[in-house]
């Protein structure tokens, strides 16, 4: 059983009472373990909303989101927080890190929240910083890191809890080309070598070129889904 994310008939509507706006409209999405998929589309197409629904940060108005066969739309707010901690890694567009903590402490934070022992945390942190090629920057505060380095630390943090998959919302949006490629290299390497599932929203061509599956959203509907790894998909009416 390799299905990680299974979104069924998911819709999210704003302004229900007045003029309904479908941020997500009847979306079906299926992500397998080890995928490296990009959600693309113009601004306002619903990429972030869909990520939020899959990540359990928001609840759909209709439909269900299954993560490893568990319908997370049925979970209470408190259980969802716990679920996210154990199962999902997040990388946001910017301001990912706590400014008063060092890079190492930022990564360690997730494991502290999970109640993992210090000795285990130390080993994992070392390993993660090796993977993001920043072992020499562990004790540096975010303000002293470049945007790209900060995003790499954010990736390390997202992986710290050994999640089922990582959701990244426009991870390269604020990065220069070199930093963006560097981050993508690391994400691709982690995907290939560690089989970590990545689903990210982007309209950055550099990212799209690296993705092995491209899901295009327009006005809250999936209009195309070109997959290198075969997936079940529903094409929306265009």
């Amino acid at each position: 059983m390799n299905t990680v994310i299974d979104a069924h008939n998911v819709s999210k509507v704003y302004n229900r009472e007045t003029v309904p706006v479908y941020a997500i409209n009847n979306v079906h999405l299926h992500i397998e373990k080890g995928e490296f998929a990009a959600l693309v589309g113009p601004s306002g197409s619903g990429k972030t909303t869909l990520l939020n629904l899959i990540g359990g940060l928001d609840k759909p108005d209709t439909g269900s989101v299954f993560i490893n066969e568990l319908d997370i739309t049925k979970l209470s707010a408190n259980k969802l927080i716990d679920f996210r901690l154990k199962n999902i890694g997040f990388v946001f567009q910017s301001f990912n890190l706590i400014p008063v903590l060092t890079a190492k402490e930022n990564v360690e934070l997730i494991m502290q929240l999970q109640g993992i022992e210090k000795s285990v945390r130390d080993v994992r942190v070392q390993q993660l910083f090796r993977q993001i090629e920043m072992s020499d920057k562990m004790d540096v505060r975010p303000a002293q890191l470049s945007g790209g380095q900060q995003q790499r630390v954010a990736v390390a943090r997202a992986l710290a809890s050994r999640p089922k998959f990582v959701l990244a919302d426009e991870p390269t949006a604020n990065l220069d080309s070199k930093s963006a490629f560097n981050l993508l290299d690391i994400m691709t390497k982690l995907n290939k070598e560690e089989h970590i599932t990545f689903l990210f929203s982007t309209h950055d061509q550099r990212v799209i070129e690296r993705a092995r599956r491209i899901i295009t959203l327009v006005d809250g509907r999936i209009v195309s889904d070109t997959a290198a790894v075969s997936t079940r998909h529903e094409k929306a009416d265009v």
Partner: protein, 405 residues
């Protein structure tokens, strides 16, 4: 532990803001402690002044004497009773008195007066009567002489070494009459006492009233005056039902009332100070919540439970309040002690008015430890109560909305 460490680091993320909040708490605590210690110090000094006028902190009479102050309500002085009283660790001095009334006359002027038979040396330890002598000299136990209050002496047109004639009713209806040398003149702050009081040694008074070994009261001074009612009960128990033990508060209810009224006014001042502290802390919390909205949304998104986030914010508030509070208390200690040793002195007309009424024209502070502890606890409670605001915001926090820019 890591939450505490993180809270401490968060506290210093905006140093200026934290410093401003701490400074607000620091100064408010100093002002609050000084206001409180001044209030207690002034009232304690006022009580000391009033008590040393005449009453002492506690008086012991035969039951019923206070309502009907006649020699018929006097009792036999007993060393056993004095021992019982002195058995209380809080009692520092006991003086016996025989008090009644008489007519005082000079050549052709007569005036009613309060005659107080006293044990000069012991009395001086309680009411510092010797200090009030403005002319002549203080009494000795063996003197057959009197001290006149300034107003009475002026009314009778008498001065030291003159003779005053006393006529009155003695014990059990006997006639009391005698003439006495005016050994000195005393000045009282209280206009009432100053106009009608006459002191003589206890033995001389007993002789004058034909009341051998009889006294009307024991006057007590105390080491610790904080728990008057407790001391009163402790004293009353061994003495039994034949005696009434009264504190100065019962003997002078008007002074107690004055202190209570002033104390309530002082509470408004303290209320304003606490309000300042509230604004200082709340302003910071408000700014902090706005500034860190995204971060809090992000923390909840990645899996930090809201309860943990609340604890984190609570630590931050408590640390800020605690540091400001401790610094404020630490700084106020030398200030309060200095003002206790070197009280604020009033000058000019105000000082004259105070002195006219027999009060020292000074505002000393109280160095009671409880004042510092109480103020610290009050400010801490304020900080904790205000922390309910971030808690409320975190409970209502929606990570998606919080992370929208």
């Amino acid at each position: 532990m890591w939450l505490i460490k993180m809270a401490w680091k968060n506290m210093w993320r905006n140093r200026s803001r934290t410093a401003i909040t701490m400074a607000a708490i620091f100064f408010a605590v100093i002002l609050s402690v000084i206001a409180s210690s001044l209030k207690d110090g002034i009232f304690s000094n006022l009580v000391k002044n009033v008590v040393s006028f005449y009453t002492g902190y506690i008086q012991i009479h035969k039951k019923g004497f206070w309502d009907e102050q006649t020699l018929d309500n006097s009792f036999k002085s007993s060393s056993k009773t004095v021992r019982l009283i002195r058995g209380n660790k809080n009692v520092t001095a006991v003086a016996s008195r025989l008090e009644s009334f008489a007519l005082a006359s000079s050549v052709n002027i007569t005036k009613g007066c309060l005659v107080a038979g006293i044990e000069p040396e012991k009395e001086n330890r309680i009411t510092f009567l010797e200090k009030k002598v403005i002319q002549g000299s203080y009494l000795l136990d063996t003197d057959y002489a009197v001290l006149l209050s300034q107003g009475l002496a002026e009314r009778l047109k008498l001065t030291t070494n003159d003779t005053v004639v006393l006529i009155g009713q003695g014990y059990h209806g006997a006639t009391a009459a005698g003439k006495y040398l005016v050994k000195g003149i005393v000045k009282f702050g209280s206009p009432d006492l100053n106009s009608r009081t006459l002191f003589m040694p206890l033995a001389t008074a007993q002789n004058f009233y034909n009341a051998d070994s009889m006294i009307t009261s024991y006057v007590l001074s105390l080491r610790n005056t904080n728990n008057l009612q407790g001391i009163r009960s402790q004293l009353g128990e061994p003495l039994g039902r034949d005696f009434e033990v009264m504190s100065w508060e019962e003997m002078m209810p008007e002074v107690k009332q004055h202190i209570q009224t002033d104390s309530s006014n002082m509470k408004y001042v303290q209320g304003i100070l606490y309000l300042l502290i509230c604004f200082g802390i709340f302003g910071t919390l408000l700014m902090m919540m706005v500034e860190r909205k995204f971060e809090m949304g992000m923390l909840v998104s990645i899996g930090m439970k809201k309860s943990k986030l609340i604890i984190l914010l609570l630590y931050e508030s408590v640390f800020t309040v605690l540091v400001g509070c401790l610094l404020g208390i630490t700084a106020s200690i030398p200030l309060v002690y200095y003002l206790n040793r070197h009280p604020i002195k009033m000058g000019g007309e105000t000082a004259k008015v105070y002195e006219r009424f027999g009060f020292e024209a000074i505002f000393p502070t109280s160095t009671e430890v409880s004042i510092f502890i109480y103020q610290g606890i009050v400010v801490l409670i304020i900080g904790l109560l205000l922390s309910l605001y971030p808690m409320y915001k975190v409970i209502r926090l929606d990570p998606v909305t919080a992370m929208k820019r």
